[in-house]
Symmetry: C2
Subunit: 190 residues, 2 copies
């Protein structure tokens, strides 16, 4: 009943994170009903991602030249470890950080590193001695576990190892903050 | 900070329904980190949708030959009007319907038809006299409004115009059914 190209699209796209078979099916028919040139543009915007490279130092995606690592004004002995490229982008948007990064890839929940992540941590160690390593890992239970594991690995390679400050987010309400967050907010008051 | 091909991907994909800029950004980096052949396959699965055609009779998507309309065993004077291709697929999965379809496209909430939908309704009228037209429009407030509008348009063109039966869905619980649904279930008991 479902034409073959639609089936293939559903298979391909429902394998992506956060897209299930239902959303993929709706997308398939929606895209089919667009004009040929719009379909072509969508296909091209995916194919063009093949051009992108990964920085051999920070492992962020780039278009030939890492915009962070190649920037002479950035401090090279302070490294911020993030899981995802989108975490890096959020930190950059805050316009507060002037060091470099290490994009480690999403950490799993079993408390172990993938071979790829082990290699990346090795690259980080090779940059020692570092002034500071910031572990910008989510302040969740698993994030705390993983940050502790990374800390063990990299402790001898930097003078100081920190994590992002915890407290009440701007726009948040004290009444609804959990006890852990409030305790952190009192510690970090100023 | 964000490489150009990623920006283009985010623009193209966040224009699709149910994909926002955040999901598009995550997808962009996820796809970038896949191998070149996987990226190529994804792009191809979109480009291949260009091959698909729309049946001039029922307006369902097909690969050269409408699988419903070209099926000689299907009754041609019973037409089921659906909004979306995915509605048609769900009805086909129920294996209970042996007529043909009209895929009308998503109805808007202002109680008017698009030029495209007016044209499709004209095609439906051209098939008169019909034995039955089933308005398989969602049983929501807007769906009821739109079904009433379609009914006005097509009333003279079929002996009988029906909608899908309402009642308690299989697996549902009487305790939690709303009064409208229960009233329909009592009417449709049997």
């Amino acid at each position: 009943m479902i034409p073959e190209p639609i089936k293939k699209f559903i298979n391909a796209f429902s394998s992506l994170p956060s897209i299930g078979p239902r959303q993929a099916t709706r997308l398939a028919f929606h895209i089919t009903n667009l004009g040929k040139s719009q379909i072509h543009d969508l296909a091209k915007s995916i194919a063009d991602l093949q051009q992108l490279k990964t920085c051999p130092d920070c492992f962020f995606t780039n278009n030939g030249n890492c915009l962070v690592c190649s920037n002479a004004s950035r401090i090279k002995n302070v490294v911020c470890v993030v899981e995802k490229e989108t975490d890096l982008i959020s930190i950059e948007k805050a316009k507060k950080y002037n060091g470099i990064y290490l994009v480690l890839g999403e950490l799993n929940k079993t408390g172990s590193f993938s071979p790829d992540q082990k290699l990346k941590l090795k690259c980080l160690k090779a940059r020692a001695p570092l002034e500071e390593i910031i572990l910008a890992i989510n302040p969740t239970a698993y994030g705390d576990l993983n940050a502790a594991l990374i800390l063990q690995e990299i402790k001898p390679f930097a003078q100081k190892i920190t994590r992002l400050g915890r407290g009440i987010p701007t726009g948040g309400e004290i009444e609804f903050a959990d006890s852990d967050t409030l305790a952190s907010a009192i510690d970090n008051r100023g």
